[in-house]
């Protein structure tokens, strides 16, 4: 039982990381109809930037805040100068652009910091607490809580502020939103900036555990995409639930089903997708994807 609770909490922590990335992907998709495959790569770059400021002697929290702000700017610039001219065109081309961006960003990380794993300091103490007789690491718990708090903040931003309203309006129908004077271009930049911010937070939270490498989040991106497929592109809550479920499930499967084990646990969400796609093509929560004419 102790192991079980520990696995669940750890799973929720990693699941929350996937959820943050998945939300970033949904955010971009809602605003621009694209899937940003570079979301993970950009988040790694953010983590490296925080790392640089830590190396310069800044306190970790300050370094993270600086990185988050820079990530926002980077995300906004990427939208403006890289994706803008592909947004109205063929979505497949735009996807290839984000893959180019992923390669470029990963490459930049590799050129600047190499492929060796770098140790990234943890924001949270590496101690454990006992919950219901199970030993649970504070880091896992705090990571999950942090992500949940950020999601609540984000939800409030979207539902309770004028900026959030404008972002949703642009996501809904950019052409029509412009008729009410909404600066669509700038709002899209904000959307990408927010997505990059979310990614950055996920990056710095998971970096201590995974250690920094340019490809650190490749796998997490794949999990996040799985969560997006399972949760449905139109449903942020669905994605969060799916991401958490994936995090917990893969942990349990890795331990309790030796046939799969730790090395093959990544196949779990995709086996799940495979089954669900056959039964329920619109995902668990989302509406059916409508082909745009």
């Amino acid at each position: 039982m102790g192991t079980f609770i520990q696995l669940v909490v750890d799973g929720l922590a990693t699941g929350s990381i996937y959820a943050a990335l998945a939300l970033a992907i949904v955010l971009v998709n809602q605003a621009t109809g694209l899937i940003n495959f570079a979301q993970g790569g950009m988040a790694v770059l953010s983590a490296y930037i925080a790392y640089v400021f830590v190396q310069l002697g800044l306190p970790l929290l300050l370094a993270i805040i600086i990185s988050v702000v820079l990530s926002f700017l980077f995300g906004a610039l990427v939208e403006r100068f890289l994706l803008r001219r592909f947004e109205r065109g063929d979505p497949d081309t735009a996807v290839v652009v984000t893959i180019g961006l992923l390669t470029l960003v990963t490459g930049i990380s590799a050129v600047l910091w190499g492929y060796n794993n770098l140790a990234f300091p943890s924001l949270f103490p590496l101690t454990s607490v006992e919950i219901l007789g199970a030993v649970v690491s504070v880091r896992s718990l705090a990571t999950a809580v942090t992500i949940v708090v950020i999601m609540v903040v984000l939800q409030l931003l979207f539902l309770r502020t004028k900026l959030g309203l404008a972002l949703r309006a642009v996501a809904d129908n950019p052409a029509s939103a412009a008729f009410s004077g909404l600066p669509v271009g700038r709002l899209l930049m904000v959307g990408w900036g927010l997505a990059a911010t979310l990614g950055a937070i996920a990056g710095v939270l998971v970096a201590p555990q995974l250690t920094l490498t340019p490809g650190m989040l490749d796998t997490a991106l794949v999990y996040a995409l799985a969560a997006v497929i399972l949760g449905g592109l139109s449903s942020p809550i669905g994605c969060v639930v799916a991401a958490s479920a994936i995090g917990v499930l893969e942990n349990l499967v890795a331990v309790y089903i030796p046939l799969i084990g730790h090395d093959l646990k990544i196949a779990v969400p995709f086996a799940l997708i495979f089954v669900i796609l056959i039964i329920r093509p619109q995902g668990l929560f989302g509406r059916k994807v409508v082909v745009r004419v």
Binding site: L165, A171, N173, A175, S176, A178, F179, S180
Partner: protein, 236 residues
Amino acid sequence: MTLLELTVVTASYGPLQVLDGVSLSVPEGGSVGILGANGAGKTTTLRAISGTVRTGGRIRFDGRDIRGLRPDQVAALGIAHVPEGRGTLGQLSVRENLLVGAYLRKDRKAVAGDIDYCLDLFPQLQDRVGSRAAALSGGEQQMLAVGRAFMAKPKLLLLDEASLGLAPSTAKAVYEAIRRLRLESGIAMLVVEQNANLAFSLVDTATVLETGRNVLTGSSAELKGMDEIRRAYLGG
């Protein structure tokens, strides 16, 4: 005083030229109709004004040259476009749609008052302020689109085929509300409408377009009497 003046405006979608020299003017507080058959360039004329199509010629609004501005910049100057197909924001609630209309306004209290005014103008929307716009009927969506445009407190309203796809009685109700809006707010209007009777109920003067050009301009009373015009362009 002339509020909006188009002088030999041209417009094209890629290689396809749709406007071939359209001229018209809307006086302050006035209401002008654009009539014509399908494909004559009515919708494109409105798009040219709101900056959603590549345009040549001269477009002056409120003493400024506005040709080449982005749609949001045009909107900021006081032109609200109710596009063909309504353009309601389907995932947003009715109230949120109205709030989006007031995006550029800072006077929160007056905005709240204007939302009440919209709901008074379109009583059908009253029970539905919380529901998603996509769940509304076609007529309700049209009302919402007009209401959202009004929320910007524009000087000029561009109204595109507000009767499209509506039952005749609904279309009539929509136009009655718009007429009331015009009387009470004094907003100038440029109206594209297929249904001649509805159009003439709202506009003082009108211009008839044919293949992207004006062929006739006159007061409602003059045009209404011209049988051949009715047959040729207005479909009865």
